[in-house]
Symmetry: D3
Subunit: 316 residues, 6 copies
């Protein structure tokens, strides 16, 4: 179990603890010898390291992404803390608590999954209910779904983020669904629950959050469609048009080709799902961004992805 | 009072009724004489007309946009009905029911305005409440607000459309406001109620719906800001920042410069108002478009503004 | 069997033949009675029709898209030929030669499929060869693949067009594959053969070429991925990375999100496939367009999709 | 009065002078104590500072944007000058010459305002003349108009820049106005004089140039419209159409929605004003950029906003 | 010499006059025979024609673009005048006044060329003066320059239009050149005079205005560069940098790649030329468009290229 | 001849060798004296330098871009090697091997030019053959063509790169030319050989690769057209249309205005040349980028120009 986190370490301390080895580069000394520069991570941040000795052993025994037990001392090198590493060895993933190494939703994951399943239970259409049950009864799927992040950077970019975003979106959809006639609530709710499930394979999040090969090569929309297609085949007499309309919700939920949807929304439910997804990701993303700003100013720093400053002051 | 509407007229009939003169063009006959081609409107559509006689009198006495009493007979000219006009004279607007000449919301305007005011009554912040009251207590403003359309073509493009759209948006905002912490409900609700009020001057809708000079030269965002600025000055001690944030909701509610907002949304309330406005206009517009399609096909005709076909079939 | 094609019919003729009923609209006569306007198609074009009698019977017995046997006489109505329909009854699709009703590739379909399979036979990698065999051994799939068009409008928009385009692309890929080191020929060839197979379900082409519901709701990239995913599961030990790279070729072959690919090309093979697909569709499309122009001018008419005139003159 | 400017300070010097405190950040020492890092500005640049002592007092007594009297010594820390601050106290703005702290137009402000007013005097149309007089007779407005910058970064980004840009544009408009028939000179000149007046509230420029809250939330077009609307109401019988056309000049002077105009130019005067504004801001901005380049090269550094290098060499 | 123009012809008249044959299409009669449909042009418009007899002779003897003497009678066919052609024969171009067949500048071409040359005479730099003289002394070039249009459709789209636009632009440049220091007047004036000279080969305007092959294949920027390059070689000791800077004015005068300039403006003179060209073409184009509108309305019809309505009303 | 290259120099060494002086900046010491900071280049990289003494002499005697003989000692300054320069004097370019200072194609330039000329020899059309011979017989042109780079940064950005890219493209064109009927092989091959020849003047590559004034002011398309136009005039009876079509290949080979072609491709050959050029530059550029990546990861670093990561792993 972790004794100390990166953001607690002070210059002068001796450290003996577990980190993720997130970068490892071999460098040449002036005298022709070799040394290693390292980056060590946990959920609170990262620290640079340098190993002057035992270079060969460390180089061969630990790969990028491994959990490693590191012994060393920390000094202040030109204003930045840096660990001089004495020894480094890999640690079996089973022996660590991965939550020590990645940021995690502040909300209770178990309560959220129960809440989501409760709402799923309100879907009346038999074959949609059946489909949803098959997902929630699939323990392996549930395990991943509870852990996956919703993004690498923008919003809900932490363990449990996918579940948190999905639940928020589904509650929102429930509030809005009844406001317009002509919207099939069961279809909308099912689509909302399943819209991002491809993300459980789009990301790697065993040790740190990054895109998987599948995530970059075929992306979460395609992965999600495959998952849903497989489960639909298990449901008896799932109507073909219903299958198409449900897949269409996944296909189109980014709103336009420009944002990665092969087809744009062509049903009322698909239009609605796209807008609600946009609301939930943007409002959460911007609110988090506002809260992360420490200055007293009325304005945040420049928000590059949306190309503007945000006003974080308040009406009294 | 109207006896017959354009969509009821048959070939062979003699007509003596009131229409809007929406076009009037002087043409030259082969023999060098003159004649007039006309277009006559009421809320159900329009009919071509031609006047061979009394050309000078008609030409001088009636202008585009006038209500006119027309006598003539209708014939089928190459598959299209056309009225041969015998006489035409202007009619004072006060003597006609303008609702006979423009499409009108199917919903009850009086009930809608009461409903909207009730919701406005739930705003707690004193100066916002005071501001809203000044609008609702301004009988002249209320009269226009009850009548104005929300658009010329796309959605709610009929008398009462602005009120219908505003009410729907406000109810939607009420459902959603509580879902996210950090959103100031009173500010959002006030912005939602006032976001489009410039449209009461952006359009002309005394006789037919079209843009006014002001609508084309400065548009409804600028007009609305002027109206709100004027009423804010009447409220005692309206905080300056609150005034800016409220105006910002009007300024930014189209979401980006590309869509006509001089500044994009920079507060949570402004982001939310933009999304909700988008939902309400698009869902209503597309649903109406779907319903207007008469074919048995699963698909609508091509929807040019959104560049796609929509699926209007249903899950059984 | 067809006796006469649309482009051979003259005014004054009596016709008794089979067509596709591509449009059917009920209209109201001046006297309140009903009549039907129709559009009748075969592979050479279409003709308007009108039915004054037996309206109810025709209306109920034939739907848009049906093959119908029509008896009537043809007259010249304002410069356009029009058939006055006396009787109309549906005909079982099995009893007609559908090739009479849709344009077809000028090339020999059987020879093309043999040629394509021969080239497929040059793929050496065992699991890719196995995968391709499973497609070519699937008689039902081959039947559809031989018939499908490659597009509704732009290029190869006729029966057999998908096969013709695929074969041409594959031969081109074969010529180019060896020019650059670092390109995996087997992967490129397999991707080229399979890149558009989703089109066999994207279109309806039993009677006329149009998008299917699946084509519009999820499109051919998604459909193709599903087909390939299914066949990959049948191959023993298909390597997971190979499956991802092959799917990536399908996912990315439109080159960018803007053109409908959820992810852009990220491997050399994917870059190459996108360029070759572009060459084959554009060169064929423009060459056909040039050849369709009958004027003596050096220039074609304006080509709207590519927004230019093309020079069709020649160097002597 | 300032004794020394930032760009004159040398390592080793003891400084006792007035600066603007433009940044102030509390940091944690290794031993757990606190220190402050500061940034100090005057019109020639900025200097970093650090305060190890009296942290609490400094922290509480001076806010970002204040004028402060600072005592300290300057040293070279890793190639950058840094002041070790001994004492720091706020100074009343009335006691400093703010021009010491912000860059200022090289031209004579008083002469420019007289010149501009002279040209304004050539406007003949009575109500436009009356309107302009009301601005120039408003001493408070004139004071701000003489001081405001025209931009934060791009062109005329200094005290007096708005006046300098406006005068140059107005002289240019005068040269061009007579070249095309159909242009109303009085309307064009009035629009040119008033086009950017919203900038006097869009920026803060008491101590340093930055956007104000109003500038970011509603921008200078909206602010300027409000100012003009207010003054127009004071003019007796200002024709309604003239008011709309004048406001249209403000609304549309950025040329398109993309550049922040809610409506694009729809009159000849508005087209012309947009082009002339573009010329004056771009020619001045690029000429300044060329002159700021110190190398002997024929080419400037890369100009990011316009995405090119400029040729600053000359024909002999 | 023309007796009657297209816009003067009445139904019932017998016509014997010269036109341009701008279209000629062979059609099949119901009885299998052939006939020709024609379009006949002069500077006032065009008229449809049909030839039932002498089809072979007409077909073989006259090509699209020829001047033809036509005899026939005019009738009203479904509201459109149409000439039944009895005989048609080609006429030698030398025997007609081509100005009868193409719209021409309302201004005096001879006076304009003298005026332009006078201004050219104010250029002081010896080699630029020499270059300009070589153009104005080249009688063949002057002849074409006096005749060429400035465009096919948008602005100055008539004989003499290029000269008219060039002169207007040069006078405008003269007014503006002195307003900014740092601009080389001689270079700007020379560039303004020569900027569009490639248009004398970009268009065909012997009989009607259309693009030439060269115009479509390499466009007027490339053609103009070739002309200037050739004349520069004739000038002794034309400095190389001056040649590059002058060519740059031609290359960049459309302002950006998007509008057809291979490089954007990179000198002050090039920036200025682009803006002035934009002003002269747009102000003239829109003013002509306003004047072409016959309605009493304050607004023009929709202007497609600039996507807006223009206000053509006036301040009183 | 070079003794040591930049990438071989170690801290502590004394150096006496030749470099390119690629930057030279005069700076002010704390004591008011002056010193120079320098950047020294050869084909393997660059090194910073500083001269404390002989500042005036060095400053006056060597300009940016000169070859210079430098004596000095190298030390490690904050982790970066830096040479303290004792003496520096310019060296005549004739006395150095410029290939020591710029990266060069790994392929044999002499063999490539022979290969390219052999392929040129397969062109049959007499006037095209004649034209190509005139280029290859022009020794001065050949010398530049063998040396020029194809780009400054993106692909083939080294000495000999233009020849390498041209040869690869021509071989590719040869493979593809026969695949489509309707393509004139001789025209395509001639266009492929000449498409980029303007680059021999677009870049400076005597000492280091950078854009020339001509390259930035008129770009390689315009320069290449001028070269080709000149040689065409030397060929007897070169058909005018052929000249236009050949120039069109140069004009349009970037594919669209957006990418710098004044006109887009309007012939089959031009479409094909654009696609093949795209393939050759992108496949080579990306393959080189993949190979330049040293990590073991399956993915490259982020590729900014194409906005994606590339997969550089392999199928086993």
């Amino acid at each position: 179990m972790k004794q100390i986190y990166v953001n607690q370490i002070q210059a002068g301390e001796a450290v003996d603890d577990i980190f993720v080895l997130s970068e490892k580069t071999l460098a040449r000394k002036k005298d022709g010898g070799q040394y290693l520069t390292l980056v060590l991570n946990d959920k609170t941040g990262n620290m640079k390291g340098v190993a002057w000795d035992q270079v060969d052993m460390i180089k061969d025994n630990a790969a990028k992404g491994d959990f490693v037990r590191v012994q060393g001392t920390v000094s202040d090198y030109r204003g930045v803390l840096q660990m001089v590493v004495k020894s480094l060895e890999t640690v079996a993933p089973e022996t660590v608590n991965t939550m020590d190494f990645m940021a995690t939703t502040p909300r209770n994951i178990e309560k959220m999954i129960v809440h989501l399943r409760d709402i799923a239970g309100t879907v009346q259409t038999a074959y949609l209910k059946d489909l949803l049950n098959r997902f929630f009864d699939d323990a392996q799927w549930v395990e991943k779904f509870k852990k996956a992040p919703a993004a690498k950077m923008m919003h809900h970019a932490y363990i449990g983020g996918l579940l948190e975003h999905t639940l928020s979106l589904v509650v929102l959809a429930d509030r809005v669904a009844g406001h317009y006639s002509g919207i099939d609530r069961d279809l909308l709710m099912t689509g909302a629950i399943l819209h991002d499930i491809g993300k459980i394979e789009e990301f790697e999040y065993a040790v740190r959050i990054d895109y998987s090969d599948a995530g970059r090569l075929v992306n979460h929309i395609v992965i999600g469609l495959e998952m849903i297609g497989k489960k639909i085949k298990e449901v008896e007499n799932f109507p073909e048009t219903a299958a198409l309309l449900l897949k269409h919700l996944i296909v189109s939920h980014h709103g336009s080709r420009e944002f990665g949807s092969p087809e744009p929304p062509k049903t009322l439910e698909a239009l609605m799902l796209n807008y609600l997804d946009e609301i939930d990701s943007k409002i959460n993303g911007i609110r988090d961004f506002m809260e992360s700003q420490e200055s007293d100013d009325n304005w945040t720093a420049y928000h590059k992805p949306m190309e503007r400053y945000f006003f974080k002051g308040h009406l009294k």
